[in-house]
Structures are given as C-alpha cells and as structure tokens.
C-alpha cells in the first residue's frame, strides 16, 4: 500500500518532530547548554531540514514537502511555550514549592520565596542579555528591539482590551 504525498510528508514531519524532542532531552540532559533557547530553535530548524531532505529522497513533491515543514513549525510553536512553562514559569515553580512542602505553605511563606528585588534583578539581567534593554547608569532603557516588542504588545493589549496585565 502506498501513502499519498501529503500523508507521507505529515508522517515524516511527526517523526522529525519526535526526533527534535528526543534530541532536546538528550542534549539538555546530558550536556551543558549555555544558550538554551537558541539550541532549541536550532533543533527544530534541523528537524525541518531533515524533513525536506527525507521528502526529496522519498520523491515527495515540493508543495507537500512545504506542508511537512509547516507541520514542524506548528510543533515548534506548541512546544516552545510548553518548554518555557516548565523552565521559567513562576506559577510552575510555586506549584513545585507547594508539592515539596509537607502540609503546604501559607500564602505569605509561598510569596516570601519570591523576593521582589531578586526577581526583578534576575529578569532585568536576562532582558539585557537578550538585547531588549540596555543599562544607562542606574537606569534601564529599551533598545530598538525592546521598543518594537513593547509597542507591538501594547497594541495587542489595546485591541483586545486586556488592561495592564503582567
């Protein structure tokens, strides 16, 4: 039984996505990765290239190959937020704190584990490293990339009437 091209490209995309996720766990679990976001992006780019190469080798036409690569892009936009929830979400870390404390924690004790000055200092450092902020003496100012991001999301908030948020 032969599969039609779209089904074949989709199955290959599933296989390459699974390979990217396995490689993510293997690379992060076994090695020391400094730039984690970039490494994860590169793994999915490699998966998309692998998809293209496999489709060419299997004689799948260009349009269905593109469809397969789109599926890998879809997997990427689903996987990245999942990863960041596990890696960086305050709520996830609070939940881990609660689960590790026999009998739970009072609201004050839980909140006390997240001292405001340390949280802000850590995030400002991350934003500077990522090129969204620059230090100007005691102040932090937006870079061009930071202005674009801030105004883009401020517009989304206005259109969707989301309020201050954060």
């Amino acid at each position: 039984m032969s599969l039609e091209p779209l089904a074949l490209a989709s199955l290959m995309a599933l296989a390459w996505t699974a390979a990217a996720i396995v490689a993510h766990f293997a690379l992060f679990g076994l090695g020391r990765v400094e730039r984690r976001s970039r490494a994860l992006v590169l793994l999915f780019v490699a998966a998309a290239l692998g998809e293209a190469a496999t489709c060419v080798a299997l004689g799948v036409d260009g349009a269905r190959t593109l469809c397969g690569m789109v599926l890998i892009a879809c997997a990427f936009i689903l996987y990245m937020p999942l990863y960041y929830t596990v890696a960086a979400s305050f709520s996830a870390r609070m939940l881990l704190d609660l689960a590790a404390a026999p009998g739970g924690l009072s609201r004050e004790a839980l909140a006390g584990r997240y001292p405001a000055p340390a949280i802000v200092a850590g995030r400002l450092e991350t934003l500077c490293r990522a090129g969204y902020l620059r230090r100007d003496g005691e102040c932090f100012a937006l870079t061009g990339k930071g202005v674009l991001t801030a105004r883009g999301f401020a517009s989304v908030k206005r259109v969707w009437r989301l309020g201050a948020g954060g």
């Binding site: 939940l95 689960a99 999301f153 969707w160």
Partner: protein, 176 residues
C-alpha cells in the same frame, strides 16, 4: 494544499472572533472562553473542508489531496495556529512578566527606569508584589491548589502537574 489554505484562512476568521469576544465579553475566565470558542469552531472548520470543492475552485489538480489526509492536516495546522499562536499571544500579552517590564519602561515619561522604580511601578503602578500575589491566587482559581486552614496545598490536579514539571525539569537538568 486545501488544508493549509483553509487553516490559514480559518485562523484569521478565528482571530477576528477572538477580538470580538475579548472586546465584548465580561467573563473573568477568558482563557476558558477562548478555548470554548476554538472547540465550537472546529466542527465548522471540518464542515467547510468537507463541503467546499476539493480544489477550492483555484488549486491545480496536482495540489489536490485525499479527503482524509487533507482534513486531518488542516485540523492539525488550524489547532496549532490557535493553541500555539492566538492563545499564546493572549497569554503573553495578559501575563507576560518580561513584556510588562518593557511596556512599563516604554510608558515611563523618561523612557528609562531604575530597579527601584520598576519594583514600585510594575504593572502600570501596581508593584511587583501584586504580580506575585496574582500568581498565588491563580494557582487556587485554576484548581492547582486549595486553602486548608490558611495553608495552600496542591490539589490532586496540582500534584499531577507538579510531578510532571519535576520530572521534565530533572530530565532537562534545569537549574532550581
């Protein structure tokens, strides 16, 4: 190819519906409302796929796919565009900590803030403690934790999620 075209077009229609919903609905549980909207839209998407011409009146014969593969592919892309696209955009805009810092600095008259100003002015003047309290309240309102004699304890749902997070964090060797 029809699946991809309809998924892209359907996603734009869904974005318009999301905008109307967010601008008019008065519900506190907006994520639930967005998810319900998506679930309701799925059968509509499938019906549009099944009841429109295989070539959409414009695709060349070489780009026409089988019905089953086409509809499954279209649903996968449509779902990913909602869950990884619009819903994530909403989550980032509504809850993003880093984004809020960037917006606070951009809206400050000096377009620059010290660390102390950010601590006080975070979230359009609510302060950083508000952000922490919001996350704590969120754990309760979303059913991950409950109050027992003034202590927060994880619910069974919270325990399962915590166990999953702990396993993934250990496997990925994420710092504590």
């Amino acid at each position: 190819m029809k699946g991809l075209v309809l998924a892209a077009a359907g996603s734009l229609v869904l974005a318009a519906a999301i905008t109307v919903l967010l601008r008019t609905a008065r519900t506190e549980r907006r994520v639930d409302a967005l998810l319900r909207l998506f679930v309701v839209s799925l059968p509509v998407f499938i019906a549009v796929y099944l009841f429109t011409p295989a070539d959409l009146g414009m695709l060349p014969a070489s780009l026409v796919d089988g019905r089953l593969a086409g509809v499954l592919y279209g649903v996968a892309v449509y779902a990913a565009l909602f869950l990884g696209g619009w819903l994530q955009l909403y989550n980032l805009a509504e809850r993003g900590f880093s984004l809020r810092i960037l917006i606070d600095i951009d809206e400050h008259p000096a377009r620059a803030m010290t660390r102390a100003e950010l601590l006080r002015g975070y979230g359009a003047g609510r302060g950083i403690d508000w952000m922490v309290a919001k996350r704590v309240d969120g754990l309760v309102s979303e059913g991950f934790a409950e109050l027992h004699a003034d202590r927060l304890v994880p619910t069974s749902r919270g325990q399962r999620a915590a166990s999953l997070f702990a396993t993934a964090r250990a496997a990925l060797r994420l710092p504590a």
